[in-house]
Symmetry: C2
Amino acid sequence: MARAKRATLKSIASDLGVTHTSVSNAWNNPAKVSKELRDRIFAHAATVHYEGPNPAARSLRTGRCGAIGVLFNDQLSYAFTDAHDIAFLRGISSVCEEEGANIVLIPLKDKHPERLDNLTAIVDGYILNAPYKSHPTIRKALARRLPTVVVDFDAPELPSVLTNDRAMMREVVSHLLTLGHRHIAIVTFPWSQDHGEIFTLGHDVSDENHVVHERVLGCRDAFEAAGVAPDGVLVCETPNDEDGGQRAVDRLLRRRHDLTAMVCFSDRLAHGVVARCQALGLSVPRRMSVTGYDGIDPPGRPSEGMKLTTVRQNAFEKGRKAAEALLCAPVQAGTPIRIAAQFVAGDSSAAAWELTE
Amino acid sequence: MARAKRATLKSIASDLGVTHTSVSNAWNNPAKVSKELRDRIFAHAATVHYEGPNPAARSLRTGRCGAIGVLFNDQLSYAFTDAHDIAFLRGISSVCEEEGANIVLIPLKDKHPERLDNLTAIVDGYILNAPYKSHPTIRKALARRLPTVVVDFDAPELPSVLTNDRAMMREVVSHLLTLGHRHIAIVTFPWSQDHGEIFTLGHDVSDENHVVHERVLGCRDAFEAAGVAPDGVLVCETPNDEDGGQRAVDRLLRRRHDLTAMVCFSDRLAHGVVARCQALGLSVPRRMSVTGYDGIDPPGRPSEGMKLTTVRQNAFEKGRKAAEALLCAPVQAGTPIRIAAQFVAGDSSAAAWELTE
DNA sequence: GTGGATATGTTTATCGTTAAACATTGGCGG
DNA sequence: CCGCCAATGTTTAACGATAAACATATCCAC
């Protein structure tokens, strides 16, 4: 059975012997149509299952669609495992609910590069979350020149929401240096799409990923301020999950077994690092200090287990501000919105001298 | 400075002295355009910042837009706090990544009922997650008669993904009855938009929310099978979060202080119930048995704390199947896809006789 | 040299709206 | 009775694309 053709403004208009503009007005400018006609229109619309103007056609005509696109650095299905990204989305949602806007989640088209040209999202603007500078999907989104807000991304020409990653990382490393640690390694998630190497802090860091770049610089700042040569500090790049953290421990210890502290760029990495250290018999924090980043309270019950030394980010607020900048009060490009993070000393870091002596 | 007018197929065509169809083909049917012309087109497109055909116009013409809409029962910003919903979204995402489809999250338009008529989402189809039968946004979505897959919803005329809630709940209650409990109460999240009452299992249950309906019936089954009168079983409706669980304890104990077990319809509720019981000096499970639903491993580290007696759902798989049904292999309406849940006995339930004696 | 496929473009109609400008009518003040 | 405004419709022109049918040239087989 062939699906019956859908009713349109025009078909309703001709059914009723009026012009389609009047039918359109029944929905969009009720004041311009007599109550009597409006009732007739709605009544007839109901019988032919007409559910209001076709949104694609309206969007074409008006140039707006009432939705904002959100792009993540990684696979979407990854984002939904990351407490930071989830809180960020929650922040966006809270604004979109108030404004009545829809959210379009756009998977990176890694598996379908050909669709880059074909299926671009129907959105009024974009929020780009910590994007890789040169990722094709990101570039494509930027190239469309729609209103765009970037988060944790260095783009002076765009409105942006930024955190104080560099200063926070400086604080974390200083914390460890103050505790007497001198053999510290860094565990980071990938700073570009292809990853896996071990570097040292002496290397120049690509700014492909602004977050990693800032945090690495923060670390270097602290080491240099303490007179520690950056060349001696290992930086291990690894996938951002517990398993990645676990493997980083092995890779790092293979190079330097005298490490007494590991600075992780996410709590997930830190959890993996802690787990692997304990499995190797290196107690945390007595034998190995570990720090995280994000400040994810392990849901369930909070106060259990070891409290990670970490940096608490306000991902929810990041999302809110980004969405507000896009939907409510347009923000100037020159002045980024700053969301301050906060250093939290926990139980996973302790003085180093007990073992280095 | 007025924003320069955007280039279109037509403007590019006339710039180049060809027809706009050829320009369109350069993107959509490359084989139909000589390589030489295609290069000229792309080159010129780049200089005028043309980023490919306008998606709204294309969508109007082709009738497809490459996105699916997802609707939740509750506020979107709530969904992002609920581990079940997040896993569900992750399942949908994993399919959308493979298929290159976008996901449109549609907030319930509670705060903007007037936008119901105005801003309908531009999507090729819907996934409705455990929707309230009569919620206006849900009804509106259904009324559009786009391809739709419902999850945990009773709609024989639509393809659906269902779980075995009723059987699982029967198992939970039987478990408690077998342990000797006779004074059991039920803690549920709201079964309609307005909520808050305490009922008994003797009451008829609205099927406004299919999940609650099925679970309540499952409980009743088990009580009846054991010869316990449903009239004596209290059912407390409360917001689906820890606080809601906490308050439910107070409300229930005020009515019946001889309760020895509380059956919760979500793990979040159960966590609140456990917390409140312990605060009241009622140790779990010695003095009070508590069961949950969902099987959310408290992230962070799994094996810590008390293991809740619960039902493990596979929300990820629910999401995957729903998305597959919509995007890949269209599913027949008559035969729901079943995702089995699994009863998990934990440490939060124990024999009752120690205290009822 | 005839006929038919292949490659490359063009013409024209259409998708379903909204917005601006233009008609028509009735009411009302002066 | 004139003129103007408000109320209610209508006419017409986009919005920016895609698809089907049609035109023309080229090539090759037989």
